[in-house]
């Protein structure tokens, strides 16, 4: 009944901080827990695409082959997470709620920069967890309604927030995905190109990183690929992903080499 903050996080901390993940940690080693791996994000003409593979690993074991790591943060933004899966998914749940809570209380959406800063604060507050080896590294992308373009933000474990101009990747396969995107991305690509490129980058990452799972045509498990444009967040359906995957395979086969011709 007291007037106060529009932040759910601040309210929760004041009301019952024990509900927040990762406060009051005991010391000691943390046993092997599932880790979520590669996320790629790239801008295109009119929005952003974010894609995540479906694998989670615990040590050398595959903990899950259909985990989802890309989520809608709100109607006009998406968040993808790499790192300790349990904490990362909780963080996303809290972040989604934080944005929705603000929207309901204030009656207006946060600016895209505001959302990105909020996420940075949340990452920073889980720094003690990161120091125990339970790091969570997100990538945030969305459509900036004020500027009319897609934007991507990357983070480090200390909560540092950096805007990326073209594309970004996080997680164990990010080195390979970023290398792939460096060759595949071009300015002014359309949505379909961007979705295919995102799938291509994940295939390249899965090729070289054991913790990244490529598209699985046998089980029909496709990466989670989402687009955020002026019309909002939309998840790309399986059929379109199967097509994109076939195209990528086609390109790779045509040049008889791993990687294939660009574009």
């Amino acid at each position: 009944m007291t007037p106060g903050t529009s932040s759910f996080l601040d309210f929760l901390a004041a009301h019952d901080a024990s509900l927040l993940p990762g406060r009051d940690l005991p010391g000691g080693e943390v046993p092997a827990a599932p880790t979520a791996t590669t996320i790629v994000a790239l801008t295109f003409d009119g929005g952003v695409v974010m894609a995540g593979d479906r694998r989670a690993t615990a040590g050398s074991m595959i903990a899950s082959r259909h985990i989802e790591k890309v989520f809608p943060a709100d109607e006009y933004s998406a968040v993808g997470i790499a790192g300790t899966a349990g904490l990362a998914i909780e963080l996303v749940r809290l972040f989604q709620l934080e944005l929705e809570h603000y929207e309901k209380i204030e009656g207006t959406l946060l600016s895209l920069d505001g959302k990105a800063n909020r996420l940075a604060t949340m990452i920073r507050s889980s720094l003690p967890l990161a120091m125990q080896g339970l790091a969570v590294v997100p990538v945030f992308g969305g459509y900036d309604l004020a500027r009319g373009e897609g934007r991507i933000f990357s983070y480090d474990v200390t909560g540092g927030r950096y805007e990326e101009a073209e594309f970004h990747a996080v997680g164990s396969g990010s080195v390979f995905a970023r290398g792939s995107l460096k060759k595949l991305w071009w300015a002014g690509m359309d949505q379909q190109d961007a979705v295919r490129t995102a799938v291509h980058a994940l295939v390249d990452a899965a090729d070289d990183d054991s913790a990244t799972g490529g598209p699985d045509a046998t089980r029909q498990i496709w990466p989670v690929v989402a687009t955020v444009t002026a019309t909002g967040y939309r998840r790309v359906d399986d059929e379109a992903l199967a097509t994109a995957h076939r195209e990528v395979e086609g390109v790779r086969r045509a040049t008889r080499g791993v990687g294939g011709d660009q574009r």
Binding site: M1, P3, F8, F11, L12, H15, L19, R93, L94, L97, E100, H101, K104, I105, G107
Partner: protein
Amino acid sequence: MSMPFYVSPEQLMKDRADYARKGIARGRSVVVLAYEGGIAFATENPSRALHKISEIYDRIAFAAVGKYNEFENLRVAGVRYADLRGYSYDRADVNARGLANAYAQTLGTVFTTESKPLEVELVVAEVGTTEDEDQVYRLSYDGSVADERGHVVMGGQAEHLSQRCAERWEPGMDLEGAVRLAVDVLGTQPEGQAREIGAAQLEVAVLDRARPRRAFRRLTGPVLAELLGRA
């Protein structure tokens, strides 16, 4: 030494109730109507920013009349209650009944213990998967709760408008019919010609059963004008 005047509890409660009722009757009315696709809310409100109708949670909305600062506080408390509950359990575990109970406790406590009752009247509505599962609770300044069916009018000339509403409301109305009825009811006056309220003076929102997660939607601008047949 002077003795304080003795005031009987009956008189004390009656005075407080009269005070609250007077405050509530001063404002404009809010009409809440069930229609086939959900629940519609309408009120006369020229402000685009100071809302009387708001979203609380995925399937729950809130409408209020009375003093703005008082019901705004209650609204924020409701959003916090719902978000906290949804976060600690699951989104499916947040329902209008629990929220109505929480409001009833607050209103009842303030009515009996504070020096001044809250001059507000609220509706908490939840849209279900079918029309039978819709829930509409009306809460008064003293914490009393009524489980309403079909239609509710509160604030302003509530009794008079409620009668008008009952004459014309029927189950299974479409959205257009419901919004027109609500606006007609808002425009009626105790005597003389009914007023026509312009789309810019109206605040209209629905809990739309067909929407996937967040059912709350405001109807403004061209959409509203078209529904009213004044496009």
